[in-house]
Homo-oligomer: 222 residues x 2
């Protein structure tokens, strides 16, 4: 193995711990819809399935609970998080706060280029008629917007929010008609951003988020 060439912060090779790999696996299953909201996660079962100890599963649960992907009910177990009344509005409130704030602050040319890249990624996915890739591209787009702010903390908040939305809205709302609308919106938002019209970009983004919230609330009960 090559020695570290930079003398700055020692680069940890950081093999993810077993607990983190378990969390990652569960996150994957949650995002893919293999574990549906409300499902019960029994410690012993998962421990056996993944070939790890119950304590390790416990640590993974703690991590997922802090991300609101699962809910712990004392002495009863952990359950995949379910959509409570107001949760949709809550999630979009967070998105409006951090996405709009990020875009209004502008960003470096590289970060703006990343936003543009996500837009093009979406167009390609649409051309290829790949709904899965289309969904990913949209998440990349909004992730790139938050990344404009260059804030570690906002990035992780956004990651968590997007993970929650994947959990709730995964395949159900994935019809092409639903998607094609915001493809143009993303383009417009990105164009405004590139033109330095930050105020306008913020308004477009706000409008998009409001409409998107309405759509989700229409699809789901109330």
């Amino acid at each position: 193995m090559a020695p570290p060439l930079t003398s700055s912060a020692r680069v940890r090779i950081a093999v993810p711990s077993v607990a983190e790999r378990v969390a990652e696996e569960l996150r994957y299953q949650l995002a893919e819809g293999m574990l549906l909201p409300g499902a019960r996660l029994t410690e012993a079962t998962i421990a056996e399935d993944l070939g790890v100890s119950r304590n390790t599963v416990r640590e993974a649960f703690a991590e997922l609970a802090s991300e609101r992907l699962v809910v712990r009910q004392p002495n009863r177990g952990v359950f995949v998080a379910t959509l409570e009344a107001g949760d949709i509005h809550d999630l979009y409130t967070v998105r409006r706060a951090i996405e709009v704030s990020s875009i209004r602050g502008g960003g470096s040319p590289e970060r703006i280029a990343a936003v543009r890249a996500a837009v093009e990624e979406g167009k390609r996915a649409a051309a290829a008629d790949d709904n899965d890739a289309l969904g990913s591209a949209n998440q990349h787009f909004h992730g790139a917007i938050v990344a404009l702010a260059e804030s570690k903390r906002l990035d992780t908040i956004m990651r968590h929010v997007l993970a929650e939305m994947r959990l709730y809205f995964h395949k159900a709302t994935a019809d092409a008609h639903f998607y094609s609308a915001w493809l143009e919106e993303n383009e417009a938002i990105c164009a405004a951003l590139e033109a330095g019209e930050l105020e306008r970009a913020g308004e477009l983004l706000t409008g998009y988020l409001n409409r998107s919230e309405e759509q989700q609330r229409a699809v789901h009960g109330e």
Copy 2:
């Protein structure tokens, strides 16, 4: 506090688990400055001190790590989080995003009254020359602003941010001169909010946060 009259969510009597109480105790010690940034937290030691098992301490650590109050270094241990370059800016970026967004959305009369209450709390603390209470009042003020949005998620994000700031800036920056300035600012922000001048309230708040960031960066290295 009045019991919830709505029959909706079943109220868990929720005796906090041991792990949560350990986390709470550590959070307290971190906020009070008993555990300074960079300090090492040895699992075995804390387990013995608090009379709990090492595994339980581990769970508490996981929670604190998710709040960025401590940092886990694989195979080395957990350390009280330290201020890295850019962290101050990062924290204020989050605050600008969620506080300004919240205040621009306005809020119910009750929530606005809570903001007013925090302002008055600050004035009383200033009159009594109680610096500790003054600091708390300021945190209540900004917490109340975020509470305007009535978002569970924004509230917990803000809680975490404020906990981080307590950790980094606890007693050090607590001189009366530093405080008296923003007492008037809080009053002005609150007045604008009460008058429904949300745009203006947002600008005042932004200005305050920018200045506050500058001050903190001046006090701490760069």
